[in-house]
Subunit: 165 residues, 2 copies
DNA sequence: ATAGAATCTAGAGCTAACTCTAGGTCAAGT
DNA sequence: ACTTGACCTAGAGTTAGCTCTAGATTCTAT
């Protein structure tokens, strides 16, 4: 079984333009061509393609993905390099996910900040008396709620029937 | 207490160039200037700055962050919009983290694939007999190990003393 | 046989998010 | 007073990752 660039593009939910661009950048040295010069993807090629898609999603630059594919084409002498590459990007991805978790925590505290402001009808309930400056105690209060066992995922949610329109 | 652009840049670990760029894009309408036209950041400004940094990390485009800051400057009439904005980006970030978790799972399976190949000295142990094509049963085998309770975070790790040089 | 759709290459164009340059002002230490 | 370094603006330059155009070829279905 073989697949045209359009069929592969559909399967991967990316454009044929992008696939050709990847090819140009050296990411697809494994694809065959038919007698008319058109790309014919094989079933086995999807093993490479899913690695490419994975590394893309992990935030690895196209050039580095190209380096990895080069290693793959070279053979068993590069097994250690390929392992090291994946190991490195596993660590980077774990670090990124930890950062994103902090970002998510922050977003939830701000949601709670606006939920409570919304319920009071004004943001000024969070201000230091007589200023436009946020009282640091407000953040402390939120942290206290979380420390007391509240789920930060729920704390910022508006009660039912509060949505507008 | 007030801070120069350089001091703020240091605190946030971003360049003064980037801060001026953000200002140009309308992200910093709240910063004051001294008589010579230089930016003077106040303590309260860090409440905005940490929101900007958070949204950046969450992957929100600069223009949209600008829209949010505009809402902030407008006053209490925009509280619902600000809440909705954060709510939307919380959901997007949760979705992204779920995707990244799948990506991480995939990376770990590939690490295991190369660990086992490395231990065998050749990738061909994973091929269908007489081909260069990966046997789909290999992935099934990995999934089985995970289903049987193995930690995917550990499965792909090479035993101690195997690192090169 | 032929019209319309898909593909090809080379190369131009685009967008986001910086990043830097040039030419000038201002502030802090000696 | 003077030098050094931080700061200012406007605008040019850069990079990554596409995205599209043009002009030609090929495939598919009637």
């Amino acid at each position: 079984m073989s697949y045209s660039i359009g069929q592969v593009a559909d399967k991967l939910s990316i454009s044929p333009y992008t696939l050709r661009y990847y090819d140009k950048e050296g990411l697809l040295p494994f694809v065959d061509r038919n007698s008319a010069g058109r790309r014919r993807f094989k079933d086995n090629d999807f093993n490479f393609l899913e690695v490419i898609v994975c590394l893309k999603e992990a935030g690895v630059p196209v050039k580095q993905i190209g380096n990895f594919i080069d290693l793959c084409m070279t053979g068993d002498t590069t097994l250690q390099d390929r392992y090291d590459f994946l190991n490195e990007h596993e660590a980077k991805l774990e670090a990124k996910m930890a950062r994103l978790q902090h970002t998510l925590d922050f977003l939830r505290w701000k949601k709670w900040y606006y939920k409570t402001a919304l319920q009071a009808g004004t943001e000024s309930i969070h201000y230091l008396p007589g200023t436009n400056h946020v009282d640091p105690a407000v953040h402390v209060e939120f942290n206290q709620l979380v420390a007391d066992g509240a789920d930060p995922k729920d704390l910022g949610n508006l009660p039912e029937g509060t949505a507008k329109a």
